[in-house]
């Protein structure tokens, strides 16, 4: 099961620009492994979207899609997999 999370900035601890843990729904999730990392940067002529995406495994067994908005440097949780 996966679910889309309403977009709101979250707090993420990073090291070398890579997420180490994130705070969401009143609890901390430790990143166990970065499974994938990709970047999008497009549609500059209208509303530019520039994001660094991370698919991470948490120590609690969740799979989460996080992204850092490269335009405002905020982090967001986009999707969770149980």
């Amino acid at each position: 099961m996966s679910r889309l999370i309403p977009l709101a900035p979250i707090l993420v601890m990073v090291s070398d620009d890579l997420p180490q843990s994130f705070w969401w729904n009143n609890r901390t999730y430790q990143v166990f492994e970065i499974v994938n990392h990709w970047r999008i940067d497009r549609e500059w002529w209208r509303l530019r979207i520039a994001r660094d995406y991370f698919l991470v495994h948490t120590t609690s067994g969740l799979l989460a899609v996080l992204f850092r908005d490269l335009l405002n440097n905020e982090w967001y949780l986009q999707r969770l997999y149980d």
């Binding site: 994938n36 990392h37 970047r39 940067d41 497009r42 500059w44 002529w45 209208r46 995406y53």
Partner: protein, 1013 residues
Amino acid sequence: MTDYIELHCHSTYSLLDGASSPDDLLASASALAMPALALTDHDAVYGAIPFITAAQAYDIQPILGAELTLESGHHLTLLVEDETGWENLCTLITLGRMNAPKGQSCLPKAAFEHHTRGLIALSGCRKGEIPQALKRKDRLTADYLAREYHQLFGQDQFYIELQHHLLPEDNRLTRALIDLAAHTGVETVVTNNVHYTLPDKQRLQDVLVSIRHNRPLDDALSLHRPNTETYLKSAAELAPLFPTCPQGLVNTLRIAERCRYTPAFGVQDLPPYPTPEAQSVDDYLASLCYGAVAERYRERTDRIDRQLAHELAVIATCQLANYFLIVWDIVQYARQNGIRSQGRGSAANSLVAYLLYISPVDPIQCDLVFERFLSPERAATPDIDIDFDAARREEVIQYIYDRYGRDHAAMAATFVTYRRKSSLRDVGRMLGLPRDVLDTVVSASELFDSGNFAIQGVSPHTLEQLLEIAQELSRSPRHLGIHNGGFVLSGKPLAQRLPVEPATMPGRTVVQWDKAGLETAGIIKIDILGLRMLSALSDAVNVVYQHTGTWIDLDHLTYDDPAIYDLIASGDTVGIFQVESRAQAQMLPRMKPRHLADVVVAISLIRPGPIQGDMVHPYLRRRLGQEAVTYYHPRLERTLKETLGVILFQEDVLKVARDLAGFTPGQGEQLRRALGAKDAEEAIASFNDAFITGAMQNGVDAETAELVFSKLQAFGGYSFPKSHAASFAVIVYQSAWLKCYYPAAFLAAVLNNQPMGFWSPAILINDAKRHAIPLYPIDANRSAAACTLEGDGIRIGLNYVKGFGPETCMKVVAVRGSSPFRGLQDFLLRTGLSKRLVENLILAGGFDWLGSPRRDLLWELGGLSADPNMLPLLTSREPVNLPPMSRTEVLKTEFQLTGIGLHEHPLERFRRLLNQRGILDSRKVARATKGKQVTVAGLNVVHQSPPTAKGFHFITLEDEFGFINVIVRPRVYAAFRRTIRHAPMLLVSGLVEREGAVTNVLAQSVSEFMGLE
């Protein structure tokens, strides 16, 4: 030293895909301290020459290659290791290109069979065959393909290419590729499939892709790259992406070390001319030349023998006899088939070229210097440019293809590049701007430099993006075109030297380099150019022969007929090659040419160089003895004696630089090019210093040296080499000769070869009326497809009716045969032309022989049916009383539909009233006293404001008697700009100015002439 070299890199020569020029890519590579860089454009080596030359400047090793598109649509990257590899790459590109429509490529895999040696193959981007198999998780096929390519290219000649652009599937794909390499024993190599120098160039790349697919940005999201990662990256940026495969980066250095080949410049490889009886080419050329002396000269003199022996010796030393024979062969073909031709440019300096009929100019008589064409000291091989009858040039082109084979002959390419307006238009279109807004943007583009501007309907953000991207796009190549006539020939298959691809025009092929590339590479090009005046001369000669039985041998005119020089000197030169313009017609009566050498000077004087250099009036005054001939310095007397102390011909720049400042011919040539180039201030400044220093070492004072350099700088614009002017002067004389002795035939020929020359057909026709040449109107039963001679006059051809192209005209003439049309219905049924075309013919006067007013004929046409099986439309047979068209309506519609007016001149109708009001005609103005206040009226036929005229405008008015020259000062022009630009007829008041036989009206006021009541 870097630990990575980019081996997969697209430049702007990956047309509408790569977003950075080779130069910019090399600059970025240099900034990253990359010692080498590969250029791998799509199915092309278009950019190889600029890449190689720019790489030298950056001290970077250029690696040549290409990314090929296979028949399956997959990509494969190839890099050139040695000469064999270059030959194979060119061959493979050619095979792919020739197997697809223009602009595309489709290489069958079987083509690799014998063409892999000397090439290193990389498995390609994500569109490669192997990555595609792995993307669909078909490991078995990927394994097979890796082994297949490995076997095809050989041990150490094939690499699995690893790319990582931070896309979601890149980690998995890279891992799979690395596993595959390990499993199959193939080495890996990292590349970045570079499409631009820096991430912010992705905007331009998106726009290019959109243009290529003709889909605005909003509709092309699926075609765009998801991010900006295909820029030129450093080892530090790439290494973290391939943590398990550092060898992939190291291998880039190993491959680069092996790919050190670039083609040698200046290697000539023309097809061997098949000489008879296995004579050497030198001997055969000599025998042809000596054999032609008796044809070309009445008497063989020592001077001819000495010059010929000298030229033949130089040609032999330079190993160019074969080249001359090839050119001679082409000219021979043209002569044998009645196709007029003649060489232009520096070839006219050569006696050999004259004897072989390549050039019409006798260099001995014209005092031309062979060394300006060819000398053993000069490394470059001279191009020979030949003009052919434009209407028959294609025959010559196809002859060359047939003679040497399509494998050995192709035409030079041109790169159609973006300019300011075209880039604004294309970028704006892709940004989704509506056409009318784009029109506004483009028309206002000149204001953009000023900074503050806004365009209604475009947000400031979009406008900013538009201007920035259009600026980046400007000067990039957009698509490949075909050079006007440059032919490249080779002994071994051309496709081994440089790739060949199909042109848009059927039956034509082009090489992948343009004129500049071929010149830099030192590859001989023969220019097969089309000149419409040569077609007109041919037509006139044929017409005269058909009507009189007299065959005119234009090639054997003796250039000494006083009547011809009288005609040229009178300025009555409408229709004559090169001397018919307003400026020439004003200058010739002052100059009064009496010899061909004078004509050579005349056509060289009215050029941007001499005009900007303020050489024209001093020359004329000196020629007329009105001022003494002086020289800027005594050292220049020898050089400029012939031109009375002024700098006139292109080569004068070289000679002045040599005699005053000690420049070598090579330095002089560089100076001449710099003077004529845009944005060459730095180069000119350095030449200025060298010139002043050199001149002072020769004892010339600094002030004089500065003065002469400033004259050279002013002269900087375009000018003729003397030899070129001499070639053109021959055509001036020939066309003047025909106008003088066979004016009707000449005019018919000129009318049939439009567009050409300075004047429109309407002015040519008015000139004919003034010379009392009878003109017969268009007639459905009498007109041929083109204008023809009828008695002493000219019958206007059907080709002058709007909408009547060659096929329509031929059809009318063919169905008419020997049975004239009996009426409109008969015409309609037999020709099957559309009613719209028949309407045009009626209004052009083509059915006036029926005796009915044109409006009645239009009415009748409306009731007719073009289908013989259909009954006529049910219209009343009762006669209708349509009001006839007024005389003005008749003349106006006739002019609109033919572009000419055969009847009275529009001014004629008002002449009596004009006379009553003291408004002068052109004859009276010519006799009016200097300084007199006059008013004149005429058709506004020419309006010029050359950049050399410092804001002055020149108008030519035409009335039924001739032309009136009007000079408009900048202040007066500003006051009457709109009227001058738009009014078809003008009334001008001003003062009479006269210089010699030339009269001008210096305008004080201008108004539109609407007629008089």
